[in-house]
Amino acid sequence: MRFYLADSDHIEISRLNLLLAEFLRQAPFEADPGKSEAARDRLYSSPMQPQHMDPEFIEDWHELIRPDLEVLFRGASEIVARDLVGLREEQLETGEAEQPSFHVQIPTKHLDSWLSCLNQARLVISEKFGFTEEDMDGRIERTMSGKRDMALYQVHFYAIIQELMLDVMRVQEGGSSNFLEEEESEDDLDFEDIAEEDEDDLLEEDEEDFLTDTDEEDSGPLPEEKGP
């Protein structure tokens, strides 16, 4: 995967394999808590702890503030969904890649929306699968089996994209990059290695298995596309 400033107003994410491109495409749908009460409760958490509860204030919060938050969150996902219309297979030079590769350009003015959407998606997925602090801090295992492992991988991937976007925003606000080497141009945030092990090798082994549902216990397709 490559992540870089295409120009002053756009970042580009390229060299995405099929799985990562699909993860990206699913982000606005994953951000929707749907019928998951746990996910809803997390996205719309209480503004007061039980020991300080003010029922009248809580009632007002649910009536007035929560609808505003729903609009805010949905708005971010809609912007991301529109940007992802431009997610396309890229034409690489002959011999450069054996598998399809995808890319997308994102306006830098949309980075706040992307951060929000990806954050919502990570929270919703984590609540649905019950991810713990250990899951969040742990390494991605080389062999993934089943939906839970794949969901954890998806959450970690979204986190990487968030970190890269935060870095761009930090640089644009005059700060320093956490990823750029000193000699590199700030126009080329090039993040080749996501994990310590070779990402492509990891995915070649597991992506095919997952996409063809070879796991008998947890078989299932990738999340179905849901409408906005």
Binding site: S46, H52, F57, Q162, N178
Partner: protein
Amino acid sequence: MRMATEAPLVEEQLQEETAISRPWSVVVHNDPVNLMNYVTMVFKRVFGYSEERSRQHMMEVHFKGRSIVWTGSREKAELYVQQLHGYQLLATLEPSD
């Protein structure tokens, strides 16, 4: 009789004014999902804190489970909590000790 009926009303008004004027704290709670750099950015954005102060509060949330990030009027505390929820942080308001 006039004094007796006025006394409870005055007391109620005093209690209400005290509740409004006492300081309230905005507390951010830890969760395993939000990224440290993300939380730091949110503190800078919402409160206008420096990078260093934002990072200190973030580390306090991470290691101690919670951090009192602001104290002041209840009205403003409510607004800050709303803004923090807009970034999906776990935030609550509570009476300041």
